[in-house]
Amino acid sequence: AQTVTQSQPEMSVQEAETVTLSCTYDTSESDYYLFWYKQPPSRQMILVIRQEAYKQQNATENRFSVNFQKAAKSFSLKISDSQLGDAAMYFCAYRSANKGAQKLVFGQGTRLTINP
């Protein structure tokens, strides 16, 4: 079974600065997808960014980028120019590329605080 580990329960950053959230995962599969989700107090999970394991290039979405290290099974999220609206819980998630495996496997989450 796949597992996802987020070792930072809480992180804080000054507004406009850069912060990196860590995530490691364990799998025996070679083809899979990784995601970062944001969960504000409203509880609604919002997709931030996704990475296909077969792609060597790191995904980027505006101020959000990832550092995907397949051999190390590491998938960190970098948030540049942090904004107050970035404050939320962030979850790393894994999804198999196996056609029959549709579920997301989530880490424990990291609470991100933005200091004005």
């Binding site: 996802v4 509880r43 609604q44 029959g100 549709q102 579920k103 424990q108």
Partner: protein, 115 residues
């Protein structure tokens, strides 16, 4: 357009009672997922529907939990003989199909409290 909606937003029930939690997916989405999020944890998969059928129910913790999607749209998660350990936020998500290429869109969840 409208997103995934879940009702009720909050539900308080007594230990031993029966509860139903409802999920309205995005119109046209054939895949529907239920997850459970305990306090301070990430969501855990419960069940996945493709159309009307449960394609994967491996996450249901025991036979007190059951879910249906009779017309391939709205889904109901049913919990019998509730226990205090069932207290959690129950999240529903839907996607266009079940393939990984399509994003799972989440609803705001139902917070269930068992007293």
């Amino acid at each position: 357009g409208a997103g995934v909606s879940q009702t009720p937003s909050n539900k308080v029930t007594e230990k031993g009672k029966y509860v139903e939690l409802r999920c309205d997916p995005i119109s046209g989405h054939t895949a529907l997922y239920w997850y459970r999020q305990s306090l301070g944890q990430g969501p855990e998969f419960l069940i996945y529907f493709q159309g009307t059928g449960a394609a994967d129910d491996s996450g249901l913790p025991n036979d007190r939990f059951f879910a249906v999607r009779p017309e391939g749209s709205v889904s109901t998660l049913k919990i019998q003989r509730t226990e205090r350990g069932d207290s959690a936020v129950y999240l529903c998500a839907s996607s266009l199909t079940g393939t990984v290429f399509y994003e799972q869109y989440f609803g705001p969840g139902t917070r269930l409290t068992v007293t």
